[in-house]
Symmetry: C2
Subunit: 326 residues, 2 copies
């Protein structure tokens, strides 16, 4: 299976690692909007190509993995590249998924390619956990907790505060809330009860720490509804101690069965990830295998993780899976 | 979707509950080997029918859910009924799954029906967790822990010991082993390090407790490789305090990514179930929906949970799933 990478940032580098782990996959080219001579990749003898020349690669790539961002790249890239290749993306703007699906489906169907969108862990594996658990326990409650991990959106919001030079924000799930959910109490939890927001902030010279802290803690949508802890640190400490890309989270469904609903059940899926981009791209490459196989079987159009039978993700045959993993 | 139940024990009663939770399903008949007049079911106006007359129901049942045991019932029942109906079973003899698959596939294909075998939580949801996690993290280790819950096989083994009147055996996962796995240490764990065996035993009059305890603890395969705790109790206490059907377990994959394998990731799926049979049958009914839909689309033959796209399990449409659960 010949893999192309479009965009060589954290995700692109992650795909490159994941391809090495999967002997049935081979990286054939990396595409970039930058001057290719400035982009150094890890894999020997694989060309870095300017996106302007991507059309030359039609027919030479089985699956193109799109490693751009959801805000501005993927809404245009995924339909555009689905017209030329089977594609995978990690589009994660939950509210705009239906619109993105429709746009990608149109171009993928017209060109006869398979496109799988919103692949990763949330959306992605967390979505799968929700669908399986909801289908099995129709009478129940869903709980999703994120973290401990850096939220890019919240970090950016802090950086926009006057007097802030740099910042990182960790989303932290609150143990007592997790325990209450796992005990089967089916609690109703407020935003404040589920997550804590932990901020590490570098001040501009002369900035007033108390004012900055107040501005962060009262910021609507991002912080006002949460308990927020603000720690002021040096830029050196921020860059050395808070450069990690760890993340994770928990999806739990708690639901009832029985003639009198006397039995409660907890279905939990959780992730603890040292590197969010490397794990996300490991998921992308597994779904690339599915896109390739589905297309070879004559399928086309836009799909999500909900539409893909698990066996398509595995390098093992049906016989091997039944014998060893069932 | 018209559901038939074959066999009215713990599983049959569980299916009956699950059908009530799913408005798109309807119980149309319960089939039994017993005299139907002696079988009282919970659902009003649904006939209980002797299995001898099951052929009269061909064409009137969309999916027959087979609620027999894996040892002697399902190996013959599933192929036999797949010749007449779409069927679901919970065949759980892991080592014999390939053979069972082949037998069922032949009859299901010949008759044009869909049969989904080995549905439940292990095999079933635990198998899914293993396949997804292995496809995503090819370089890693799988860990499965069961319990805390009663093992029927181990309880039966104790009852065969001379001097034992009755017994229940709980399989208990050991917290320190779970913690070691979750920490990303990728430990090699012995049988003894993973599970404790906790036994509640009622002695026959005049039996020697020390001899019975020794016989249990040294029993090969069942107990010799484990730390085993034997508690002697009265029959009354056994029947009142150890009649529950709670169970559960944990499937964890710990795997590495990165250019130098410097990042570890933990994927965990766990269940905490108040009623093993009611949860198992909730899974069976979700897969009955999938069997029905797949057959309506023209599919036939034997399938496992690996072959079924998650969307087929849900009563919601693709649009609804993408909008609300992705």
């Amino acid at each position: 299976m010949k893999i192309g990478i479009l965009g060589y940032g954290n995700l692109g580098r992650g795909v490159e690692c994941a391809v090495k782990e999967n002997p049935d996959t081979e990286l054939v080219a990396v595409f970039t909007r930058r001057d290719p001579s400035t982009v150094k990749i890890q894999t020997p003898n694989v060309p870095v190509v300017n996106v302007a020349n991507v059309k030359d690669w039609v027919g030479k790539i089985d699956v193109m993995i799109l490693c751009g961002g959801s805000a501005t790249d993927l809404p245009t890239q995924t339909p555009e590249y689905a017209a030329m290749f089977n594609v995978i993306d990690s589009f994660d703007t939950h509210a705009k998924i239906p619109e993105h699906f429709a746009a990608v489906d149109k171009d993928a169907k017209a060109s006869g390619h398979v496109a799988i969108i919103s692949v990763g862990w949330d959306p992605g594996l967390f979505s799968l956990a929700r669908v399986y658990a909801n289908a099995i326990l129709p009478d129940g409650n869903d709980y999703t907790f994120w973290g401990r991990g850096v939220s890019q959106g919240h970090s950016d919001a802090i950086r926009r505060v006057k007097g802030v030079k740099n910042a990182k924000q960790y989303t932290v799930p609150i143990d007592s809330a997790l325990d209450a959910v796992r005990s089967g109490q089916n609690p109703e939890l407020t935003t404040r009860q589920k997550h804590l927001r932990e901020c590490y902030v570098v001040l501009e010279d002369g900035a007033d720490a108390a004012e900055v802290e107040q501005a962060i803690k009262t910021m609507p949508n991002y912080f006002a509804d949460y308990d927020t802890v603000v720690n002021f640190i040096s830029e050196e400490e921020l860059l050395t101690k808070h450069a990690g890309l760890a993340h994770g989270g928990f999806v739990i469904r708690s639901g009832k069965t029985g003639q009198s609903k006397e039995h409660n059940h907890i279905i939990e899926f959780n992730l603890k990830l040292d590197s969010n981009p490397e794990f996300t791209t490991a998921v992308l490459v597994a779904y690339a295998r599915a896109a390739y196989r589905l297309n070879k079987e004559g399928n086309n159009g836009c799909k999500t993780v909900f539409d893909i039978a698990p066996a398509y993700l595995s390098a093992q045959s049906g016989e091997e899976l039944r014998a060893h993993l069932l």
